[in-house]
C-alpha cells in the first residue's frame, strides 16, 4: 500500500468521525462540530503512523 492509497480511507474516516461525533449529542451543530474534531484527530493519527512506517521502511529496508 502506498501513501496515496490512504486517500481511499478518507471517506471511511469521515463516516467513523460522524458516527463517533454523534454519540451523546442530539443537536446537528454539535454533531458536526464534534465530527470535524474527530476527523482531524483520525487523519492526524493515521498520517503520523503512516509517515513513521514509511520512514522506518526507508531507513531499514
Amino acid at each position: 500500500m502506498r501513501l496515496v492509497d490512504l486517500v481511499g480511507l478518507l471517506p471511511l474516516a469521515l463516516l467513523i468521525a460522524l458516527a463517533v461525533g454523534g454519540v451523546g449529542r442530539h443537536a446537528p451543530e454539535d454533531v458536526v462540530r464534534t465530527s470535524v474534531s474527530r476527523l482531524g484527530t483520525l487523519v492526524l493519527v493515521v498520517a503520523c503512523v503512516a509517515g513513521v512506517a514509511r520512514l522506518l521502511i526507508a531507513f531499514f529496508v
Partner: protein, 254 residues
Amino acid sequence: MDVVAPPPPPRLGPPPSALLVGLVGLLLPGLGHVVAGRPGKGFFYFCLVGLAFTAGLWMTGLVAVQPDRDPLWFAGQALAGLPTLAVWKATEGLVATERLASFDLGMLYTAVAGLLNVVAIADALGIVDDARAVADLRRRADAAAQAARGAEHAAAADEDGFAAASRALGADGPRVEVAPVPADPAQASRFLADSALAAPDLTAPDLTAPDLAAPDLAAPDRTAPDLTAPDLTAPDRTTTEVAESGPIVGGPLP
C-alpha cells in the same frame, strides 16, 4: 447570525427496555434509536452504516460477505445485522472471477460498517439511560409534590380543628371562672380559710434549699497554721557560719 437548534423535547412515558433497544439495534442499524424515541438519529445512523456497507460491497464486486472464505471479516460484517444476512443470502452463489484492486479496502469498509453499528447501539443505550434518569427525577418530583400536598392538607385539618375548638370554648378561648367572696362574714372567713388551705404556704421554710449559714466543712481552714511553709523566725544557720568564719578577703592564688 447564530441559529441554535432548540434541544429535543424530553421523551414522555416509561423508558424502553435496554435489552430490547440493544437487540433491535443489532438487527437493523438505527432501529434501536427509533425504539428509544429518537427516530431522526436512528435514520442518521442507518444512513451511515448503510453507506459504509454499500460502498464496501461495491468495492469488492458484491462478494464481500463470504463467511466460508473470510470468516474474520464476516465476524465484523455480522454486527451490521440483517443487511449482512440479506447480502449473504443474495450473493451466496456468486464467485469472484478476478481480484479487484479495491477488494481489501471494500472488505475493510464492510467490517467497519458493522463496528459503526456497535457505536450506534451504544448511543441508543445511552439514550435509554438518559430517559431512565429523567423518569426517575420525575418520579421523585411527583413524590415530593404529593408529600407537600399531604402536609398542606394536614395543616388545613389542624387549623379547622383549632377553629372548631375555639368556637366551642368561645371567642377568647377558655375562661377562668372566679367565685365571688360571700357577703356573710362567717361564710367569708370560712371561704378564705378554705382558699388558704388550698394555696401553698409561702412562709414555711424550704427544707430542700441549702443552708447557707452552716459552715462549709469541705472548705480549707484558713486560720490553722501552715505547717508546710518555711519558718521565717528560725535562725539561718548558713548565714551564722559565714559570720563566724570571718570576712572573705580577695587575693592572688598561691
